[in-house]
Amino acid sequence: MSTLMQHKKTNPVIDPESIRRDFPILNRTVNGNQLVYLDNAATTQKPQIVIDELARYYSEYNSNVHRGIHTLADEATQAYEKARQKVANFIGAPKTEQIIFTRGATESINLVAYAWGRKNIGKGDRIVLTQMEHHANLVPWVALAKETGAELEYIPIDEQGCLDLDDIGEIISRNTKLVSVTQMSNVLGTINPVEKTIEIAHDRGAIALVDAAQSVPHMPVDVKSMDADFVAFSAHKMLGPTGIGILYGKEELLSGMEPFNYGGEMINEVRYDFADWAALPHKFEAGTPNIAGVVAFSPALDYLRNIGMANVRQHEIELTGYTLDRLSSLGSIRIFGPMNPELRGGAISFIDNDVHPHDLAQLLDQSGVAIRAGHHCAQPLHRLLGIGSTARASFYIYNTKEEIDQLIDALKEARRYFGHE
């Protein structure tokens, strides 16, 4: 942390070299080579302070939250609620009660689909998504539509991989109840104009959910100015532990919803034939939560705040621009998504004309370069693009241009291995 602070004073732009020292895993080797971790859209690595807080929780103040009157319970509860406050500050939520801890972005979206969707969406109502959604923001709505007889409509994408908003006025129709859009695609990298989809949704009397799993970790996001009704994201994609997700919601919506899970911690008063729900946010947090994960998410948020999300974004624009140029210069690579780094984040999907993504990932792993191959939980999008799978390199604050050079070298080597120059 100290290196960061010093660094911040002298130079506002990210220095990945000093950041790297805070991430012990980046020192490891894979197949005899220094790890080059380019699978950050799947999950990011963790700084030492996050790892330390996990250990500190278990070795110093492990206890259940909101239940005990003893010192440990009090410390754990305070740390847990402090994390909630930090999340609220991080995304500009007006009130701490609007932050609900879940298991991940997936569970956050499911919570809305069950606790709000099944009450408010019925036969003949419309749910609007986009063609680039992750399964997490697709399957819950497909299931809901199947169950209720609601209809699904998709905002199309253009050849660049950006949303085609020409017909959005008709797509988000008067019978639309929900518009759920990803703010940044995990495949195309595209940053979507969610303010616009939210505005039209509201004009039609619909609710707007933003899948921010890829945006909150990589760019400044302010839920209030965005005016989203619900926002979902995951801690593990932004330096935090796995198993922690966040659902932000507007207070009047959350207050009006019935719980999603029932049990301990979410009640006010229980009798044998009666139960009355606790106030927000506890109404939605039944049972013992992932306390260790939540308290260790606090230092991750501090870490990102110290760097500054605008700087994170700037760093990734630079890396993305550099990578797009270098990949293009190979001649054998087809890149998906916008070619202008200002329009996209640092998740870059591509295919090689001659080597299948699976084989690329396997060969790159031999050089210590970790990329992802597959459909990245976006099968309908891949079908639309006419391909079964893509290779994907995705960045974060600790990645460097030298690592991109290693990626490019490894791609060349993989082609040579398969007999292509």
């Binding site: 197949n31 005899g32 080597v355 299948h356 993504p357 699976h358 084989d359 396997q362 060969l363 031999q366 191959a373 597959g374 459909h375 099968q379 891949h382 391909i387 079964g388 799978s389 080597e413 291995y417 398969f418 007999g419």
Partner: protein, 155 residues
Amino acid sequence: MSDALDTLYREVILDHYKNPRGKKKLDHADVKNEGKNPVCGDEIEVEVEFDGDTVKDLSVSCAGCAISVASGSMLYEVIKGKSFDEVRKIAKVVKAMLKGEEYDADGIDLGDLDVLEGVRQFPVRIKCALLSWVTLVDAIEKADTNESSKLSTTE
């Protein structure tokens, strides 16, 4: 690159990948079956023409990685002309070989298939190698039970 990698991507495998045998369309397919590896998106179509209970001819069209394409191509070479019983037996041997289990290949001509042993060291790739086999066996079961189309997966 490493030795382990060279056992995965044997020359024979790369050769089958670059020139997959059996990638054609049959004029008289008795049964067709599609297979999918849901994890990586690889897709395969197998067509089979029967002569009684033997595979008179077949086609294997695979859109996938080197391992799944090569495995399908080797399958084509080995399976053509075999009886249903032999097909089931060979598929069982291939499965066991990939999973590192005991198998008895007595009296079975495995052709190039033994190179698939190298896949065992790369557990995530086993499904790639299995896809064509699962799809073929399902195709034959389908013909045997007169079932209509069914999607095969490696799951």
